[in-house]
């Protein structure tokens, strides 16, 4: 006889396990669903410094540390300590931006420093019963950091720039400088101010990057100014980087032009070197008006303040990243190009109603001369206006006197050209009586009643909108531009072709891109109303619903 084994069949425990597994398996669709919602949103801070400097010295063994800079400074300053508690002074008196060191040193030394100083301070404070931070590994090296950053990039717009100019008594040299290789020091050159980013890009041996330079200059100056004799700016992280604090920064309603001798008007043309190659009439450009319309010089100029054609040549140059002058001005997707910026304007509520139905992939040929109405390139080059307006980048600095432009007199020709640009004041010449007051749309009447279309009211509201904008005035110089918003694909006149001349039965195989009449009306009217946020947008706002709107559609016999 065999002995009775210790277990037989599936034991009780086994059965329970099986049952549980089965239950989990069946229930899992309930909690195993594919879409996990967002994790609970983390609290946000603008002062987070990620301590991961050792990354450069080898792979990290633990997750980087999230350090709350403002949290530390507030506490320490309130206890009477200074920045020196954490930052050493450089020989020139500035504070090192590194933590308690001037140079990084070895990986081990760096780790030792952080561990000793951070944990040391935290432990000491704990012993004293003061508010303190973590002393365990995971307390600082958290895999899932406690906060999310909402720190924003910070920079000067025109208003903030002007407020700083006034604050330093219009002494541009307070901030602006450039490096003189002969003197081996930084010097200030009046009229040759560039954006900081032109030189301060990445941190190098000899030159600080934008972030480092910015923190030294801004915080250094803010710290040095006590705030009593004159106003000063923030020294904490959030002061500059927190979105709410940024929104609270005072903005001036009117900002005077920057005193840098920039031209009022320029001729946008190929550079002198390219003169023989240019064919298009030059484009007169009102620099002054565009200064008002933009926030910073960098919107158009990138970092350096030189003329467009110095880097963007007709055939492309490495200085301009190989981007040709044509592309630099006409790239439809760029923030820096003329067309790109103007295209963005077309998406604004006042403009989008007409512009949204137009081909957005290219400009029509008729648009070229809207900008290129200046002198022919050979005449222009004869007048040598290019030298006076478009300065040669290499000449700048070597002979500052000569390139110190005075606006009046020397660019007289461009003055009248850009003047004309602003004098186009009559985009509509039809008499009021020539503009039908109401157009009743009833050709398709079946499911809904007729729609009364307030034609004249719409024309005049469009006209009003155009007249309110200098840019719109320039580009909508005639009836062509204004009427063709709706009356497209046909010449403009007092009696343009009827909509139904082109739009008929839908889905015509010979005119596959032309909507039917019903579709055309609805797309045009509702599309415009929707885009320009004009009431009404529903069905019954324009025409009344009949008792049985589907009457015309046959029922099928079943």
């Amino acid at each position: 006889m065999r002995e009775r084994p210790a277990y037989h069949g599936i034991g009780k425990t086994g059965r329970i396990v099986l049952l549980i597994l089965l239950a989990v398996g069946l229930a899992s669709p309930c909690f195993g669903g594919g879409h996990h919602g967002d994790k609970a949103a983390k609290p946000k801070r603008a002062d987070l410094v990620t301590i991961d400097g050792m990354k450069a010295l080898g792979p990290l063994e633990r997750p980087p540390v999230q350090f709350k800079h403002d949290g530390h400074t507030e506490k320490l300053l309130s206890e009477g300590q200074t920045c020196a508690a954490c930052h050493l002074s450089l020989p020139d008196g500035r504070l090192s931006q590194k933590f308690l060191r001037l140079e990084n040193g070895s990986r081990d030394a760096l780790m030792e420093l952080y561990h000793e100083k951070c944990i040391g301070c935290h432990t000491e404070r704990k012993a004293k019963g003061l508010a303190t931070g973590a002393v365990t590994c995971g307390g600082c090296h958290a895999r899932d950091p406690e906060y999310a950053s909402n720190a924003q990039e910070v920079g000067f717009d025109k208003s903030l720039h002007w407020r700083h100019i006034e604050a330093v008594g219009k002494k541009c040299e307070s901030c602006h400088h450039e490096y003189d290789p002969k003197a081996e020091k930084t010097v200030y050159k009046k009229g040759h101010e560039q954006s900081c980013r032109d030189c301060h890009k990445e941190d190098t041996e000899t030159r600080s990057g934008m972030k480092t330079a910015g923190h030294w200059s801004c915080i250094g100056c803010h710290l040095a100014t006590d705030g009593k004799s004159r106003k000063t700016g923030p020294v904490d992280c959030a002061g500059c980087h927190h979105p709410d604090r940024q929104a609270a920064v005072k903005t001036l309603n009117t900002v005077p032009r920057l005193p840098r001798n920039q031209p009022d008007r320029v001729m946008v043309a190929a550079s002198a070197a390219d003169a023989g190659l240019a064919r298009m009439p030059v484009a007169p450009f009102n620099h002054e008006i565009h200064e008002n319309a933009t926030d910073t010089c960098r919107v158009c100029h990138h970092e350096g303040m030189q003329a467009c054609n110095q880097c963007h040549t007709l055939e492309g140059h490495s200085r301009g990243g190989g981007v040709k002058l044509e592309m630099a001005m006409h790239d439809m997707d760029s923030d820096h190009s003329c067309v790109g910026c103007h295209n963005a304007k077309k998406a604004e509520t006042a403009c989008v109603g007409c512009h949204k139905i137009m081909d957005q992939s290219r400009l029509p040929e008729s648009a070229c001369l809207r900008c290129h109405y200046g002198p022919k390139p050979e005449e222009y080059s004869k007048h040598r206006l290019v030298e006076t307006v478009m300065r040669d980048v290499d000449a700048i600095g070597e002979d500052a006197e000569e390139t110190d432009l005075s606006h009046e007199g020397r660019d007289g020709e461009s003055t009248w050209l850009t003047g004309e640009m602003l004098n186009r004041t009559a985009p509509l010449s039809f008499a009021e009586s020539d503009i039908p007051e109401t157009v009743t749309v009833n050709v398709l009447e079946s499911q809904y009643g007729p729609a009364a279309f307030p034609h004249r009211k719409i024309v005049y509201s469009m006209l009003k909108a155009v007249r309110e904008s200098k840019m719109a005035m320039h580009f909508h110089g005639s009836e062509d531009a204004l009427c063709q918003g709706c009356h497209h694909n046909s010449p403009v006149g007092k009696k343009p072709p009827m909509c139904r001349s082109c739009h008929g039965q839908p889905f015509n195989a010979d005119k596959i891109h032309v909507p039917g009449l019903k579709g055309a009306y609805h797309q045009q009217c509702m599309g415009c109303h929707q885009a320009m946020k004009i009431e009404p947008v529903g069905c019954t706002g324009c025409h009344e619903r009949k008792s049985n709107p589907m009457e015309k559609i046959d029922r099928a016999g079943r």
Binding site: L26, S28, G34
Partner: protein
């Protein structure tokens, strides 16, 4: 009529034989059941099943199921069809082993395996009567309109034919019970042909059940979806069949010990060792082709990504790799109980796999609010059908020569 001649008296008329047969069946069927715990529970389940059946056919699928547009196939397809067919694979695996591969020593295992297979497969069309919208049209694919491009057509044709084959294979037992000697002998002669036909049909439809899910690459989680799905289903059906024979052998041995003759008692143990060894090898192969599938679609990174990864790993390691190892140990060390427990574990693993494919990992892309959870009545009807199967099993092994050789029909070898 000649085949129907009766064994007891050579000159009995056809009518006599029918009368005798009916009498014998009636005597066995119309017995007042004793109030044993099994009978009480089975009775309750059957009563519930009849009520649910009424609800299903009177009020439609919506009344008893949670099926919807996103989840047209629920628990009945996942459990009754996919698991039922896989677990009934013991019939073809055992008869193939014995009759074709010449493992005569396991002969005693064939009849129980065929019986389980036959009952399992019989439940499939019955379950489908509940599941399809218009059950009376089930023969349509054969007689009215043939959708030959459909994998399901293949499944339907093969399952239909295979149920017939299983019936013929199984019917030897009732014929012996009813002492219908000539027809029994006629069928007995066809054993080899039926076995080969059965293996062909099983290969086709076991794999096609997997192939049906080839149609759902966007709905089935990529860890379970694979172009090898038909191969997985076929190979795992062999494992399911072998394990089911071992597992069920253990249960039968326990609950129907009195029905076993000496040969079946002894062979039962031999079968377990032999099948455990075979299962271990096939499980290893199954494990390897599963890995090849993962490698083919480069899905390694998914394994630890989320719930599905861990769940897949659990299935792969816990219910494929682990039983592979345990079967090997059991077969080598001759540990019968370990083998029997592992067989049960493996059977559960196959069920888990089929439910994963059909329910858990299906529609994984939907938010949990739109996911399907079976209605209790769906599970109730499945339970009802399984209970009917168990009752039939009990009846058959009680009356017919399944676990013993009929004294009048000594086993003759092919």
């Amino acid at each position: 009529m000649s085949v129907l001649s009766h064994s007891e008296s050579g000159d009995a008329t056809f009518l006599d034989i029918v009368k005798l047969t009916v009498k014998r069946v009636a005597k066995a069927v119309f017995v007042v059941p004793k109030p044993t715990p099994f009978n009480i529970i089975a009775g309750l389940i059957v009563a519930m099943g009849l009520v649910l059946t009424y609800l299903r056919f009177a009020y439609g699928l919506a009344a008893v199921t949670n099926l919807d547009g996103n989840m047209p196939w629920g628990f009945w397809i996942g459990f009754d069809l996919l698991c039922g067919v896989a677990l009934a694979a013991g019939g073809y695996t055992t008869s193939a082993a014995v009759y074709i591969f010449g493992m005569k020593k396991y002969h005693a295992a064939v009849r129980p395996a065929i019986l389980t297979g036959f009952l399992g497969y019989s439940l499939v069309p019955i379950a489908l009567l509940y599941d399809v919208g218009r059950p009376w049209r089930l023969p349509y694919p054969f007689v009215v309109s043939q959708g030959t491009t459909s994998v399901m057509f293949e499944v339907a044709a093969c399952v239909g034919l295979y149920v017939t084959v299983l019936f013929l294979e199984w019917s030897i037992a009732p014929l012996e019970w009813l002492k219908l000697k000539k027809i029994r002998n006629f069928l007995h002669k066809a054993t080899i042909a039926l076995t080969i036909f059965g293996v062909v049909l099983s290969t086709l439809h076991q794999s096609s059940l997997g192939a049906m899910y080839l149609m759902t690459p966007g709905k089935l989680h990529p860890l379970w979806y694979s172009t090898y799905l038909p191969v997985y289903f076929f190979v795992s059906s062999i494992i399911a069949g072998l394990s089911m024979v071992m597992f069920e052998g253990a249960l039968s041995h326990k609950y129907f010990a009195h029905k076993h003759d000496e040969e079946h008692r002894v062979v039962g143990e031999q079968v377990a060792y032999g099948f455990a060894k075979a299962s271990s090898v096939i499980l290893l192969g199954y494990f390897v082709i599963k890995l090849i599938g993962l490698a083919h679609d480069n899905e390694w990174a998914m394994l630890t990504r989320d719930f599905y990864g861990w769940w897949f790993l659990l299935e792969l390691l816990g219910f494929v790799a682990l039983p592979c190892l345990l079967f090997a140990i059991g077969a080598r060390e001759k540990k019968l109980k370990l083998i029997q427990v592992t067989a049960g574990w493996t059977v559960f693993g196959i069920v888990l796999n089929r439910l994963n494919v059909s329910l858990v990992a299906f529609n994984y892309h939907l938010p949990s609010s739109e996911r399907y959870v079976p209605h209790w009545m769906e599970i109730g009807i499945s339970l009802f059908l399984v209970t009917c199967g168990v009752i039939a099993f009990k009846f058959i092994v009680t009356h017919m020569p399944i676990f013993y050789s009929h004294p009048e029909f000594p086993e003759d070898h092919h």
